[in-house]
């Protein structure tokens, strides 16, 4: 069957179960701040939403474009740095332009998306593992840039972003529920935007590019352009996460976009599953909770810090289930005798090998 003759499948039993779980979870999250613990609202869940958004941009690129990008952390950092430079004023580091908070948000998103366009265009003739290497160099270059260039950041970064939020957001410290709902709604919008984009003609041909770039090229599709646009879209999503991160954390420093942070976001996406967008938030939740409650645990014999723990967990997941928790869920259904056609999750589970340059 031609991959272009896509039509909606009738809702299967599995889809129905997932829908019920999703709606229940959403209703729960919607009312959670009313009776939930403040710490869980302001720290765990808000962080989960915004990290999930950044991870979703990575999952989108991997699952539908065959491009494993390690630049998503750098991009959301660029967005947060842009926001911080434009919004803060007075005697703080950076450019402290003191712009209107909403204008700064729009500009931060626009700048990040434009940089994403350039990054994507440069890497667009590569895919798979080559793409991963090129985007990793972006990540380290961005880290070095913000570490060295004192006009826009310097080593200690930019503080005071949370003091200059739009009125709608308020003060994230005293009014954490507002940021919670904004992050939740943004996460939902991002989720449905990705689901929509992959079903448009562009999304379908992007999946064609993922599966067989040579054939798509000979059919007249512009492979590099598809990859560039997909990367730009992912940069846009990452920029949203960056703005939320700026508000939530109040500070953005080079360390937030360093190699460790880059690998952390990859770990989030892998824990959740690189094949399904939902996995991004599942992975983010798992990561935040582990990060929170395993902080002081040290591995027997080896010693070391949290990083050894998360490294071992990451190693175990990649070895046991490379398609992450969502992959385990899919396999559970497979084991129960349920079969589903091919799709991004099948491609991600099969070999995790994207098409090569």
């Amino acid at each position: 069957m031609s991959p272009f003759a896509w039509r909606p499948r009738p809702m299967s039993e599995k889809n129905l179960v997932e829908l019920v779980i999703g709606v229940t979870l959403l209703l729960f999250l919607a009312v959670f701040p009313v009776f939930g613990v403040g710490y869980w609202v302001s720290f765990v869940l808000t962080q989960t939403f915004l990290i999930g958004i950044a991870a979703a941009s990575l999952v989108f690129l991997t699952a539908y474009g065959g491009m494993v990008s390690l630049a998503q952390t750098a991009l959301y950092g660029i967005s947060a740095f842009a926001l911080g430079n434009m919004v803060t004023k007075g005697a703080v580091k950076g450019l402290h332009l003191g712009l209107d908070p909403w204008l700064a948000v729009v500009l931060a998103i626009a700048i990040t998306t434009a940089i994403g366009l350039v990054f994507g265009a440069v890497a667009s003739r590569s895919a798979g593992i080559y793409f991963l290497m090129i985007t990793l160099t972006y990540a380290v270059i961005a880290f070095t840039f913000f570490g060295q260039v004192t006009q826009v950041s310097g080593f200690s970064g930019i503080a005071g972003i949370a003091d200059r939020t739009p009125a709608l957001v308020g003060d994230p410290v005293t009014q954490p529920n507002r940021l919670y709902y904004i992050a939740l709604v943004t996460a939902l919008v991002v989720y449905f935007a990705i689901r929509h984009v992959v079903r448009t003609p562009f999304g379908i041909s992007l999946q064609g590019v993922r599966d067989d770039p040579v054939r798509m090229g000979s059919l007249g599709y512009n492979v590099a352009l598809h990859r560039t646009l997909a990367f730009t879209f992912a940069a846009f999503i990452a920029s949203l996460a960056g703005v939320l991160y700026g508000w939530w954390n109040g500070v953005i420093a080079p360390d937030n976009v360093g190699l460790g942070a880059t690998v952390d976001l990859l770990i989030v996406a892998v824990i959740g599953g690189l094949g399904r967008v939902e996995g991004a938030w599942l992975g983010a939740f798992a990561f935040v909770v582990i990060n929170n409650y395993v902080r002081d645990v040290s591995v027997p014999v080896l010693g070391g810090s949290f990083n050894t723990v998360i490294g071992l967990i990451f190693l175990a997941i990649v070895i046991v289930s490379p398609s992450g928790l969502m992959g385990l869920w899919d396999r559970l259904w497979d084991a129960a005798g349920y079969r589903e056609g091919s799709g991004p999750r099948a491609a991600a589970a099969a070999g995790t090998a994207g098409p090569q340059a």
């Binding site: 290497m133 160099t137 050894t308 090998a353």
Partner: protein, 365 residues
């Protein structure tokens, strides 16, 4: 069929644009450094040849070190298609091991050893021990984690990332071993006293470090040894055959698994050798691994993966751009612009990838 002749073929122009931009940028950079370079630290090369020569030598010696490290990365990738993300961590651990061995050989007791107390063996033995130890760790990594999932390149990259996270954290938690020093401190080893001095080059009155020149010699020696190994021995022949066609090579009765193991050990050892050199050159600290993973990646992306000549070209280009951008970017206003050198790394990457996505000497995959 008659070819359409148009007065101005903009499509051709667009297609040739990357080459034009690359050539233009190179010419501009050369003119800038040689004749113009206003308000820079060093000024144009025609006015101060000594500074130019020093920058050039700094670039060449750094390129030699980059070649040593990146050739290991490239060897592993070329044969096995494994992107070894733990390469930087191997270098970091190798550097700390070299430091510990030199400390125990010279009874340093956690203090920096003076080069006058170090003879050639006090430098060579640590480097060899580090290379051997990391070679062993590389062998274990390859046999336990990478042997059974050949071909799943993304999964292998993720596995090596996990290993690099663990190694980096373990190094910070346990090294330096001396209880008198805080864990995760930066350390450095000393060059042997015999080469830790300046020599007069008799060109423009430049005095240059013998240790740096030795580094250049070491890089050339490693390059020649690798070339002899890959092009003049049977193992090398098998490796090159494996790079070209892995399945066909094993179908011809070659035990490709042994070849893989050898290549991985050599690749990891080269990272550790680079680490031993870097520990004397600049010292290692817990952020060294990321920095050298970046260096290896840029070198092989620019030069082309799996090609020894590509690695040479990539190391030269990257190291020269890096060193010249520090010295020859304008410094007007105190803050600007030497600190923008990371942008030039990106420009180099972008220019090369724009007209050769597979790198300068790489072949299309």
């Amino acid at each position: 069929m008659r070819r359409a002749v148009s007065a101005f073929d903009w499509r051709l122009l667009v297609r040739r644009l990357p080459v034009g931009v690359a050539v233009g940028t190179t010419v501009f950079a050369l003119v800038w450094v040689l004749f113009w370079a206003p308000s820079t630290n060093f000024g144009p090369a025609i006015h101060s040849p000594a500074n130019f020569l020093i920058t050039l030598l700094n670039g060449l010696t750094l390129a030699a070190l980059m070649f040593i490290v990146a050739s290991g990365f490239s060897l592993i990738f070329g044969l096995m298609r494994v992107v070894n993300m733990a390469h930087g961590s191997f270098l970091l651990l190798g550097g700390y091991i070299a430091y510990e061995v030199q400390q125990s050989m010279t009874n340093g007791g956690g203090l920096t050893v003076f080069s006058s107390q170090v003879n050639a063996w006090d430098w060579l033995v640590p480097a060899i021990v580090a290379a051997a130890a990391i070679g062993g760790i590389g062998l274990v990594t390859q046999q336990v984690f990478l042997r059974w999932n050949m071909g799943q390149d993304l999964r292998q990259a993720l596995i090596t990332i996990a290993i690099s996270v663990i190694i980096a954290d373990q190094v910070v938690a346990h090294f330096p071993l001396e209880s008198s020093i805080e864990k995760g401190s930066a350390v450095n080893t000393s060059w042997p006293g015999a080469i830790d001095r300046l020599v007069n080059l008799h060109i423009a009155g430049v005095q240059y470090s013998v240790a740096r020149l030795t580094m250049l010699g070491l890089g050339v020696a490693v390059g020649i040894a690798l070339w002899l190994w890959l092009y003049r021995t049977k193992t090398g022949m098998v490796i090159r055959a494996g790079v070209d066609d892995r399945q066909m090579t094993s179908a011809l009765g070659v035990n490709i698994q042994v070849t893989f193991a050898i290549a991985f050990v050599v690749g990891a050892s080269l990272a550790a050798l680079g680490g031993a050199v870097f520990t004397s050159y600049a010292g290692v600290n817990p952020t060294t691994d990321g920095q050298w993973l970046l260096n290896s990646l840029v070198v092989v992306i620019v030069g082309g993966l799996g090609s020894i000549f590509g690695t040479v070209a990539g190391a030269l280009l990257y190291a020269l751009v890096y060193n010249f951008s520090i010295s020859y970017l304008p410094t007007t206003g105190g803050d600007c612009c030497g600190q923008y050198s990371p942008v030039l790394t990106f420009v180099l990457l972008a220019l090369v990838l724009a007209f050769r996505p597979q790198g300068l000497f790489g072949r299309p995959a």
